[in-house]
Structures are given as C-alpha cells and as structure tokens.
C-alpha cells in the first residue's frame, strides 16, 4: 500500500501512538493489503459516521443568540430545547453552559472522548488526544492560549469533565458588531472549536 493514503493528524498529541492505535492501524493495513477491505471502504465508513452524526450545533446556538427565551430553555434542558428545534439528540442528555463576561467554559472528557456527537458530529483528533485530555483539566489557561484564546485573570475558567452520562456544549458570547445579522450569518461564525470552548467566535 502507499505509505500516505491515511492521515496522521497528531498535531495536538505529542506522545507516541498507543498500543491500541498501533494495533488498529496494523490491522487496517493488513486487511487492505490482503484485499479483504479497501482504503475506499474505510473512507466511506468514516463519511457514513459523519452523515450519521451531522454537525448542527451552530444553528442551535445562532437561534439561542437571537431568541432570548429559547436560550433560557436551552440552558435549562438542552435535550428538550434541541427537540423543540427539530433535533433529536437520541440518547444524549445535553447540558448547555453559557459564557459570560465573567465566566469562560471549556469541555473535555478525561476518561475517554465523550462528545455531543448528535449535535457536533464526530470529535476532532485533538479532542481525543491524551495531551488535551490530561492538560486542560489542570492547566486550562495554558491550553486555551495554545488555541490562541488568552483570557484575562478576571474571567473565571470553568472546565467541564464530560465523564459520565451527560454531554456538554458551550454557548459562546455573541460578538459585538453582529447586531441585525440573520441566524444564517451568525451560524457561519460559530465554529466547532468555539462550541467546545477552546476558541471564541470572531467576525
């Protein structure tokens, strides 16, 4: 097989590959080499995962930015508010946490890689990396700075470890200068990383 027809996105994980990662890659390479599966089938399966878990978070957050009552319902019960908006989170119970001028929220799962897939799709590689999971709980400000997010001391940082049955999404602050924007326009500046809390939406 060609040496580079799969990705090695380890940009936020400076440790060596885990035993399971190596075994999984070796297994995939062997299966492809022996003609049991093709690289294209693997890619298709990954695309199927993306289709199964569409990325719908920005629509929900843009609506929360424009409809104060909806935002209150989202913060009270994320799953119910999403259902009202036509998004079935299935098994996921969602806790939406709001950024304010005094508080910044950031989400992690230290035990594995729990992520609000029904709302945000498949998690990015860095979210699953040991580096992020280990460090963001104990030095969140340093990790945020590495994402380009430097918060003043007077803004409290709250880390949410998504370690059991609930899933989390950050409701970022709506940037100044977006007054009068439509929900579609707003949704375009709401990035995935801002919904995990490692960046802030920018115009």
């Amino acid at each position: 097989m060609k040496p580079h027809d799969h990705s090695h996105d380890r940009s936020f994980d400076d440790g060596p590959a885990s035993e399971y990662e190596i075994m999984s890659r070796a297994m995939q390479e062997l299966l492809i080499e022996r003609g049991v599966i093709t690289a294209e089938e693997v890619r298709n399966r990954m695309e199927q995962f993306d289709a199964d878990f569409p990325y719908r978070g920005p629509r929900v957050i843009a609506h929360a930015w424009t409809d104060r009552a909806f935002k209150a319902r989202l913060l009270a019960d994320g799953k119910r508010a999403c259902a009202e908006f036509g998004i079935d989170l299935e098994a996921d119970r969602l806790i939406a946490v709001e950024n304010t001028p005094e508080l910044h929220n950031v989400i992690v799962c230290t035990l594995c890689s729990c992520y609000p897939r029904a709302l945000l799709g498949m998690p990015p590689t860095w979210y699953k990396s040991e580096n992020y999971r280990r460090r963001v709980v104990r030095e969140p400000r340093a990790v945020l700075a590495e994402f380009g997010t430097r918060l003043p001391e007077q803004v409290a940082v709250r880390v949410h470890d998504s370690n059991a049955d609930m899933r989390y999404v950050v409701v970022p602050m709506r940037p100044a200068g977006t007054e009068g924007w439509s929900e579609d326009q707003l949704a375009r500046i709401i990035t995935r990383d801002s919904l995990v809390g490692v960046t802030l939406p920018k115009i």
Partner: protein, 104 residues
C-alpha cells in the same frame, strides 16, 4: 411545547443542590467513572442530573440496576490541584454517582 424533561427523575436522593460533598478516596479495581484526580476532593453539588443505570455494572454486561443518582459537582481548581497556577475563581465540574460521595 411540553416535552417531558430529558433528565431522569431522582426523587429519592441523598444530596441536594448546594450541599458540600467529598468524593471517596477509594481505589477499587474495575471500570469506574470517577477519575482518579478527583478522589478525596471536596466540592459542592451543582445540579442533580437524574438517576442512571450504574455504569460500573453495565461495563460487565449486567443491567445496571438499581439506578444510581448522578450529580454534577463543582470544585475549586485550587482544591483539585495543589499547585494550580490560575486564579482562585477557576473551577472544574464533573459528574459523580451518589455512591462515590460523602457529606463534607
């Protein structure tokens, strides 16, 4: 629109929002959802998430009954990490099952 709440009710429970609690300092083998770093630390109940099948039983193919009450607990980062470098106001929250909590 009046869908039922997504939270599973937990009318019978040991703690309420605002209660001060400590996570048990215990290291049993097996599948646990209480990360090591939080064991022995003291925090405050932030919300009652509801009652959920016990993952420590589910992990081994049991039905997870009886369900366990799950709490969101808030900790000061300075309590969690002795050498925490950030401001005093920084906090950390995670989910802890009732059988891992004691009054503090």
């Amino acid at each position: 629109m009046s869908l039922p709440s997504a939270y599973t009710e937990a009318p019978v429970r040991r703690f309420n929002v605002g209660d001060r609690v400590a996570v048990k300092r215990s290291y049993p083998p097996g599948h646990r959802r209480t990360p090591h770093y939080i064991r022995g630390k003291r925090g405050v109940i932030e919300r009652v998430c509801g009652a959920f099948a016990n993952p420590e039983e589910l992990a081994y193919g049991f039905d997870g009954e009886p369900k366990r009450v799950l709490y969101r607990v808030r900790f000061r980062q300075g309590e969690v990490w002795r050498d925490y470098a950030g401001p005093e106001r920084d906090t950390l929250e995670l989910e802890v099952y009732e059988h891992w909590l004691e009054p503090a």
